[in-house]
Symmetry: C2
């Protein structure tokens, strides 16, 4: 029963996240979510006391995605600079393809209109990027002038903006090309050997040339 | 009478923009705006048919700010790279200090819940930055590998993210320091002579050292 309730909850969260992503928090009712998920309003209220609690659970699921991705893409086996680029593409794909990530992102942008305390983003991301830059320094790949703390903040600023603007202009259709462009600007600034930028990009993403095609 | 109606309209927009910035669109009523502006609801409806129309006028005033700033900071008399950095600090200060810019930004982020077509941002900014980068190339200051079109997009992504994250984390208290950090990362990538980055930053903003203090 436990497992089945967990599966129902997950499927409910995904149905609701799709609707919230398309129509926003105010434009989505519990009855819409019932129609999309095939659950009665009573079954929905068994899991969540109200629409605000459901929205909070989606935003939490969104934020729970990141530690898993960070763990998967930053382990040993690749230089930190390659891991950093690889991680950024994994995040871009999650934003484009994962309903919980997409729904959670829109709900977070509408957070002022939702009666729930939503988790704060950014701080954990800045720490993860800073750790990768510090490892890149130990590995001798970071330019001397780069301060890992300041650069980590600026990188997170740039990526967050990329996601927001890409979503507003094209529904993220161009996100991988735009991300490759951003790395082509940033890597020569970050790397001790600016000429290694294209190689780092290629190692991170074997198919990056096709991304441009 | 024309001038007086114009002044009343402007003061009404500023009062409403302050409230929208603090409380959001849904959290602000016409009666709140009446209390803050000292106008009756009847006087407000003389200028705007409803709250959505008032919100649209604030977002339009927000976007009308930019051509004036671009004109003022990108004229002849300074290299394009210095103009670009100078312009970015003027924008950061407008976001921090101008009630119409602040209110318009929050309303734009809440655009899905407002019944009004709001102007699209970004496209005009990308064009303005691209023109400055093309001028920098003519002036011999742009690194050969930089493509002005792709770099302009990435720069706008980075700045938009900086503004959003700074607003979420600290109400933009650190925006000038964070902006200087972002330029310290980007300028060495953009400039034909990476060593000229600090000099460009200093020429753009004579007081930039104090910003760090």
């Amino acid at each position: 029963m436990q497992a089945r309730a967990g599966a129902t909850r997950r499927s409910l969260l995904e149905s609701a996240a799709c609707l919230f992503h398309e129509r926003g928090f105010a434009g989505t009712s519990i009855s819409d979510i019932g129609n999309a998920s095939g659950l009665t309003s009573g079954a929905i209220y068994f899991h969540f006391s109200n629409k605000d609690a459901l929205a909070r659970a989606i935003v939490e699921a969104h934020f729970d995605t990141w530690p898993v991705l960070i763990e998967r893409h930053t382990g040993a086996g690749a230089p930190a600079t390659v891991s950093l680029v690889r991680l950024s593409f994994a995040v871009a794909r999650a934003f484009r393809d994962d309903p919980l990530v997409r729904g959670g992102a829109r709900l977070w942008s509408e957070r002022y209109g939702i009666d729930a305390t939503l988790p704060a983003p950014f701080v954990g991301w800045i720490a993860a990027v800073r750790a990768l830059l510090e490892r890149a320094r130990e590995e001798g790949e970071l330019a001397d002038r780069i301060d890992p703390a300041g650069a980590a903040k600026s990188i997170i600023h740039a990526f967050f903006g990329l996601h927001t603007v890409s979503d507003a202009l094209s529904g993220r259709a161009e996100i991988e090309n735009d991300l490759a462009d951003l790395w082509r600007l940033l890597l020569p600034a970050l790397l001790a050997d600016p000429g290694a930028a294209e190689d780092t990009l290629r190692r991170a993403l074997p198919a990056v040339d096709e991304v441009r095609a």
